[in-house]
Structures are given as structure tokens and as C-alpha cells.
């Protein structure tokens, strides 16, 4: 059997049927696939309806007790899967035609690869501000992942439309179901994926639509922020090298509102007026269309609830400081490169070595360093130009200009060299 589709579901029978319906028309799935639905504490007779239906592929329905969460559900489904490739779908995903085929194609030439398919929001047009914000986040995420030169990290592992070989899944030990009841377990899985030397890829053609607006509102948005705070602490406890990459690390950053939100959290009960007063203001701003005010208030409240989640996990600020105190800097192999030759040569060298960091110079002038980053794929040649254009533009500019001015035999600062030197540089580029 080629592929097993695993769908955890929680009280969303109609949405689940919308997920299953397009799969009924997939010939590959019917020929050599199966679908496993894990009903996570469902009270809406999902299991009964599924078992009573007729399906063109083998369908197995598992039930688990309420409160176990999506991660445990996925693990249970994976444990009984018979396919060579596992495809995890959420129950609010509507697959596009040939989703299955695209996922299978993406695994053909790499045995240790996880593939994220696109699942942008289905909602189009004017919407409530919280839906607009979420839609913008999702579209931005997928756009970023599809950019040439994007460097994959653990934050790109999204479990709503994810496939990987079953051998890799079992080697990694599955999702960690103690991270939280919802959210965070996909990032934590991504950390272990990169630690094991596997790769992550994005396949925009393996597409689906995400009907997330049906289950999102302001309350759930804030609740999700709280769960993220809790999950981040759990992740930080398990993986010391990722701590400096988490939002937790930046506990002193931000403007007045962010600092006020954090102060309100650590003040305990005294800080309760913060969310109580801002929430009605937020709703009013949304009603009267004061977009910028809404954004600011939403940001402040989200910051508050994220740090409430952190406090739920650590208890007090001292415990947080102790947790973050013994962080480990990510380490890895750093490659020294001279960019004064052709950039293509530098790219080939990076592709050959696949370092975690770079120390760059242009001739005799230092440009800068790309430090190893936690749970991020080793560098490839195609990452170089983007890194230079975005992170090291100004130092590269100075180094290149200085090098070329010296090469032309001028000892003065080429920026002040006047007509001759700058004209020559402008022509050669």
C-alpha cells in the first residue's frame, strides 16, 4: 500500500465529510491507499456516520477519549497505518484534485523528506478583522515558503497538509502529545526532524483549501495565543538550543503596550483589568472600522495571552529566567567564503559543503557572518543571494566598494572618489 491518510477530528462531522468527499474521486487513493480517521472525543456521532457510509477506499475509524488532543490522535492513526507514506490532513481542509499524487511525487527522489502542501484559507473578500489577520498570516506563510532562496526551519512544519515516509515518522517517534492540547506539537516535531538530519520541502501543487474561518473568532484566537505560550515553554524545556529562537527569548523587547501586557501578566490577579478593559475596546474598534486601533489593541491582547500561557507553564518570572539562563547557542559547521570571485562559484561551494553558517569576505574586507541557526536546514547555494540582499546588503556594499577602489589604485574612500571612480563602478556593477 502506498499511502495512508490520517485525519484527526473533533466534533466537526460536516467539515470532515467535506474533507473526505474530494478524496472519493481520487483513483490513486482507491487503488493503493487508505484513510484513517481518529475521532478525538467526538460527541456528534462522527464515528457512527463514517462507519455507516460506503467509501471507495479502506476507511478505518478509531476513537479516543476526550482531552487527548490532535497529536495523540495522529500518533494513534500512524501506529496502525499500512502505507509507505503517511499524509496528515486536518478536518477543516478541503483537498484539491490530485493532492495525493503530488504528495507521492514529492517523495520519489528523497527517502528522508517531509513535505508540506499548500493550504491557504478558503475565505475571500471582506471579513471580520480577526479573520483578515489570520488569512494574511497564512497567505504570507505559504508565499514565504514558496520563495526561491527560502531556508526551511522548524517553523515551516505545518501539520494540516503534511506527508512523510512512515519509516521517518517512526524513527522520529511521532508527535509529542505532552506539548499542549492544541498547537506547538508540529513545531516540536520539526525541531526533531532537523536534528535527525532529515529535510523539509514545500509543494504548492499539493494544494488544499483551509476553512479555518469557520472555527476562528476573537476568543479562540486569544486562547490559541495562550496555548502557544504554554507550548513554547514545553519546547524550550526539551530543546535547549532552540530557546534563543523562540518568542520567549525576547521577553524584554517591544514597545510600551507589549511591556504593559507582560507586566500585567506577571502581576497576577492585579493585572486582570488589562484584558478585561481592552477586550471591549477591541470589539468596538472592530465594529466602527478603526482598523489601526484594532490592530494595536489586538497585538497588545495577544501579547498578554501568550505570556499568560507562559506563566501557566513556568509559574513565575524567576523560573522563566532559570529556564532561559542555561540556553545553548546553536552550533554547526561554518564555511569561509570569498565573494570576490564569481557568485556562482560560491554557490557551488555551499552546495558541496552544506554548512550551517558562513563567514563571508570580499577580497581582504570582511562582510559578515551568517551564524548557525537552530533547527534550520543546512545552507544551500540558492540561499546565498537572498541572504546577501536582505541581511548583509550594507556591509557587502562597503566591502565591495572598498575592494574595487583599491583594485583601481585609489587609496581614498571610493564613496568620496567623485565622478571618475563612482562612474566606473556604476558601469561595471
Amino acid at each position: 500500500m502506498k499511502i495512508s491518510i490520517i485525519i484527526p477530528t473533533h466534533n466537526r462531522c460536516a467539515s470532515l465529510l467535506r474533507t473526505l468527499h474530494p478524496l472519493c474521486a481520487d483513483p490513486q487513493l482507491a487503488a493503493s491507499g487508505e484513510v484513517i480517521v481518529v475521532a478525538d472525543g467526538c460527541r456528534d456521532s462522527t464515528a457512527t456516520r463514517l462507519r455507516a457510509g460506503t467509501w471507495p477506499w479502506p476507511l478505518r475509524v478509531l476513537e479516543q477519549d476526550p482531552g487527548r488532543g490532535a497529536a495523540a490522535a495522529r500518533n494513534r492513526g500512524a501506529a496502525i497505518a499500512q502505507g509507505r507514506v503517511l499524509l496528515f490532513l486536518d478536518d477543516d481542509i478541503e483537498p484539491c484534485p490530485d493532492l495525493v499524487e503530488r504528495h507521492l511525487d514529492a517523495h520519489r527522489d528523497a527517502p528522508r523528506r517531509a513535505v508540506v502542501g499548500a493550504y491557504p484559507p478558503a475565505l475571500e473578500g471582506p471579513a471580520a478583522p480577526v479573520h483578515v489577520l489570520k488569512r494574511d498570516w497564512w497567505l504570507g506563510r505559504f508565499h514565504e515558503m514558496g520563495q526561491p532562496g527560502h531556508r526551511f526551519s522548524y517553523r515551516d512544519l505545518l501539520s494540516g497538509n503534511l506527508s512523510l515516509p512512515v519509516a521517518l515518522f517512526r524513527e522520529l517517534g511521532g508527535f509529542d502529545d505532552r506539548i499542549g492540547s492544541a498547537g506547538g506539537e508540529d513545531y516540536e516535531f520539526g525541531i526533531r526532524l532537523f536534528a535527525a538530519g532529515a529535510e523539509l520541502a514545500y509543494e504548492p501543487a499539493a494544494g488544499a483549501l483551509h476553512h479555518e474561518h469557520e472555527t476562528t473568532d476573537l476568543v479562540r484566537y486569544m486562547r490559541r495565543a495562550r496555548q502557544e505560550g504554554l507550548a513554547d515553554v514545553r519546547i524550550a524545556e526539551r530543546h535547549p538550543s532552540i530557546r534563543c529562537a523562540l518568542p520567549l527569548w525576547h521577553r524584554h523587547r517591544g514597545g510600551r503596550t507589549q511591556r504593559a501586557a507582560r507586566a500585567a501578566v506577571w502581576a497576577g490577579r492585579l493585572g486582570a483589568p488589562f484584558p478585561l478593559s481592552l477586550t471591549p475596546l477591541l470589539r468596538t474598534a472592530g465594529l466602527i472600522g478603526a482598523q489601526r486601533r484594532w490592530l494595536r489593541l489586538c497585538g497588545a491582547l495577544r501579547e498578554y495571552w501568550y505570556w499568560r500561557g507562559v506563566r501557566d507553564a513556568v509559574g513565575d518570572r524567576d523560573a522563566l529566567e532559570r529556564l532561559l539562563a542555561d540556553s545553548v547557542s546553536p552550533e554547526g559547521r561554518e564555511l569561509e567564503l570569498d565573494l570576490a570571485g564569481a557568485l556562482e562559484a560560491a554557490e557551488r561551494e555551499i552546495d558541496r559543503v552544506r554548512p550551517d553558517g558562513l563567514r563571508l569576505r570580499y577580497g581582504n574586507f570582511a562582510v559578515g557572518r551568517i551564524a548557525p541557526a537552530a533547527s534550520t536546514e543546512p545552507l544551500r547555494g540558492r540561499h546565498l543571494r537572498r541572504l546577501l540582499a536582505t541581511e548583509l546588503a550594507w556591509p557587502l556594499l562597503k566591502a565591495k566598494a572598498a575592494h574595487e577602489a583599491l583594485a583601481q589604485g585609489r587609496a581614498t574612500d571610493p564613496m568620496e572618489g567623485g565622478y571618475g571612480s563612482t562612474a566606473a563602478m556604476a558601469r561595471t556593477g
Partner: protein, 392 residues
């Protein structure tokens, strides 16, 4: 005192060693500065004895370009900028020119469009109820390369809607018939389109000529240009900021706007009682729906401003009418109360101080007053235009 101004271009990568010559009869020059074809900035310089000296031009051009010059230089060497590789393949798009009774302008615009590199784009000419036959002849001369569409009822927005309905590609670029696009206009305009959050891109529109006082006043006080830095508006940008995102003379939209957000309002813009504002209103709607609009300063087109004072006065009056008509529509149809705030800010920070500024330093008083009168007439003009649309 405004002198006759020459419009010239200069490329720092192919800098003329003798400076700019052949400027006899001009007192000023309006110079568009590029680096190896990439648009950098614009500057004004005085002309002496029909020329501008090379060294002086070089110094001023470098000063005006500022640090942006070095960023562009580096990006050209890397072949990469913020949006990705510079040489990414261009998607096919539809280009629409909406026109009415301006065959000479249309000819010039079409010649420039047809001279652009072919990336599979289609060209549409939407004839918005021209009175003569000349428009059709100008379009049909080019045979298969140009699709001619005729709209019997006047109205720029009606013509835009027709273009959106008839276009074959996902993105539709609009350019006014009295504007002339650059060779790389379409490529640059379509670069931000890969981002699914972006539903509109606006370009940079400079002046084609500045021979008369009316043209210079329009360029100085009511330019279509929004600067030389790329800006992205959204999500949840203030819809009343629609005036800052760009102008409809040079823009591209997703065709899906028609289905998802509705058509351009036929009661607005040129050809109706409201004179302008149709583009502003659509920009506001796109921003209100939470999508992004990107202002792409390197997507250059040059607009031939009205030559005579009477047309200029009509334009300023029409501008006031259009903005307030667009805001009235937003208030009435979308219940966007923020337009009241936008109107207050405009009055408080620009229109009111402008009335007290000395005449020489600001917009001529007559034009300010005409614009204000236009603003006052705007809401009623929209309602009348709407009623007229409803009856037809």
C-alpha cells in the same frame, strides 16, 4: 515664476560625458535618473545657455539618488532584490487602455505598449463611447495584436469593468490613454503579483512634458507620483489612505476583484457627474477587505498633463468632487466611518493651512478654492450620478 521645462532622462551607467545639451529655450530641466535602466529618482535643475554641465549634473544626480543608488547597484550585481530574483519569468497578463476621443494620445500609448517585450500579454482597447471613428481606426490598424472593445455608454469605470470582464489573464494592468509606459513597465508592475495577499499594484507616473504653466502646476501640486520607494499597504490599512497608494492612471488588479469585491462603481470617475475618484474608491475597497496594495516605483509611465489653464481648473475641481464622491460611496455602501476622519485630517493638515499660505509658495489660490468647492459638491454629485445610473 515658472519657466519652460524640458523633460529628460539620464542613466548613471551610461552617463553622457558632455552633460545635457540641446536645451535652448528652456529655463529648467526635469530629469529622470536611472541606473542601468532601473529608475532611481527625479530632480529639477536650472538650464544655462541651453545645456547642463556633466559634473554638476553628476553631483546633483548622486545627491538626489542618495543611498538608494547603492542599494540598486548591489541588487543589480546580485541579481536579487526584496521581491526575489530580478530575472524571474514574467507571467502573462492583460493590458487595458480605456479611451475616449483622444486618438493621437492613444496612438502614442499603443506604440509604446507594442514596443514592450512579448511575454504573452494581451492588449485591450476599450473605447468608452467615442464620438468619432478615429479611435477604432487607431486600434484596428494593429490587427490581431490589439483587441478593440466598444462601450456605448460613457464612463471610465464602466470601461474598466468591461476590461475586467473581457480579460483572459489573472492580472489586468490599466494605463490611461494619455500616458506612455516605459519598456519595462509591465514587467516591473507585475513583480509584486506573486504574493497572494497583493490584489493591486500601482505604478509611478511622471510627466511626459512640461511646456506650459498648467502642466507644471499639475506636476508640482498634484503629481501622480508617490515617490521612489516601494511601499506596501495592508493588511487592515486605513481605507481612507487610498489616496496615498497610487493612481488609476497606472495600476494592475486581479481579475477576481470583480467577483469578490464587486465592479468599479459606474457612478464614479471620468464621464460621470463625479469626474474622478473611481480608482480611489476601489483602492479603499481592496484595503478594507484586508488585501495589500503595493506601490511599485520602478513601474514607470509618463503622463501628458493638460496643457491649458481651463482644463487644469476643471481637473482640480473634478479632483475635489471625485475624492468626496468616493468617500460618500464608502460611507453609504460600506458604512466606513473612517472616511470622516480622513476628510477631517485632509482639511486640518492640508486644505486649511493651504488657504493661509502665501500665494507664491503654495497651490494657486484659485485652484485651492476650486478643489474645495469640488469637495463640497462631491457627495451630492455622487448621489445624483447614482440616481442617473439607476434610471438608465
Amino acid at each position: 515664476m515658472m519657466q519652460r521645462t524640458a523633460v529628460r532622462e539620464v542613466d548613471l551607467g551610461a552617463f553622457p560625458a558632455e552633460g545635457l545639451t540641446g536645451l535652448d529655450g528652456y529655463g529648467q530641466a526635469y530629469i529622470i535618473v536611472r541606473l542601468n535602466g532601473h529608475l532611481l529618482c527625479r530632480l529639477d535643475m536650472p538650464v544655462k545657455d541651453g545645456r547642463i554641465e556633466a559634473l554638476r549634473l553628476w553631483d546633483m544626480a548622486l545627491g538626489a539618488a542618495g543611498p538608494g543608488l547603492w542599494n540598486v547597484w548591489l541588487q543589480q550585481w546580485l541579481g536579487w532584490d526584496d521581491l526575489g530574483p530580478l530575472e524571474a519569468s514574467q507571467r502573462p497578463a492583460s493590458v487595458a487602455v480605456c479611451t475616449r476621443d483622444r486618438p493621437e494620445d492613444l496612438q502614442r500609448c499603443l506604440d509604446a505598449l507594442l514596443a514592450m517585450p512579448d511575454h504573452g500579454q494581451e492588449l485591450l482597447v476599450v473605447d468608452s463611447a467615442s464620438r468619432g471613428d478615429d479611435t477604432r481606426r487607431v486600434a484596428e490598424i494593429h490587427g490581431e495584436r490589439v483587441r478593440y472593445l466598444r462601450e456605448e455608454r460613457p464612463g471610465l469605470n464602466r470601461a474598466r469593468n468591461r476590461a475586467l470582464r473581457e480579460a483572459h489573464h489573472e492580472w489586468v494592468a490599466f494605463i490611461d490613454d494619455d500616458a506612455v509606459p516605459d519598456a519595462s513597465w509591465l514587467t516591473r508592475l507585475l513583480r509584486p503579483c506573486a504574493d497572494p495577499r497583493v490584489w493591486c499594484v500601482t505604478g509611478n507616473t511622471l510627466s511626459w512634458e512640461l511646456e506650459t504653466r498648467a502642466q507644471q502646476i499639475q506636476e508640482r501640486y498634484s503629481s501622480f507620483s508617490r515617490g521612489f520607494v516601494r511601499r506596501s499597504f495592508g493588511p487592515l490599512a486605513m481605507p481612507a489612505a487610498s489616496g496615498w497608494v497610487g493612481a488609476g492612471v497606472n495600476m494592475a488588479l486581479r481579475r477576481r476583484v470583480l467577483e469578490v469585491l464587486g465592479p468599479f462603481d459606474p457612478a464614479l470617475d471620468a464621464g460621470t457627474l463625479t469626474c474622478s475618484g473611481g480608482d480611489n474608491e476601489m483602492f479603499g475597497r481592496i484595503l478594507a477587505a484586508g488585501y495589500h496594495i503595493v506601490y511599485e516605483p520602478t513601474a514607470l509611465a509618463r503622463h501628458r498633463h493638460r496643457r491649458d489653464d481651463a482644463s487644469l481648473q476643471k481637473a482640480f475641481f473634478g479632483y475635489g468632487v471625485g475624492v468626496y464622491a468616493a468617500w460618500t460611496r464608502a460611507l453609504v455602501c460600506q458604512h466606513d466611518w473612517q472616511v470622516l476622519r480622513g476628510a477631517w485630517l485632509w482639511w486640518r493638515h492640508e486644505q486649511l493651512p493651504g488657504l493661509f499660505r502665501r500665494a507664491r509658495r503654495g497651490l494657486p489660490r484659485r485652484l485651492q478654492v476650486l478643489q474645495l468647492l469640488g469637495c463640497l459638491a462631491g457627495p451630492w454629485a455622487y448621489l445624483r450620478s447614482r440616481l442617473r445610473e439607476g434610471k438608465a
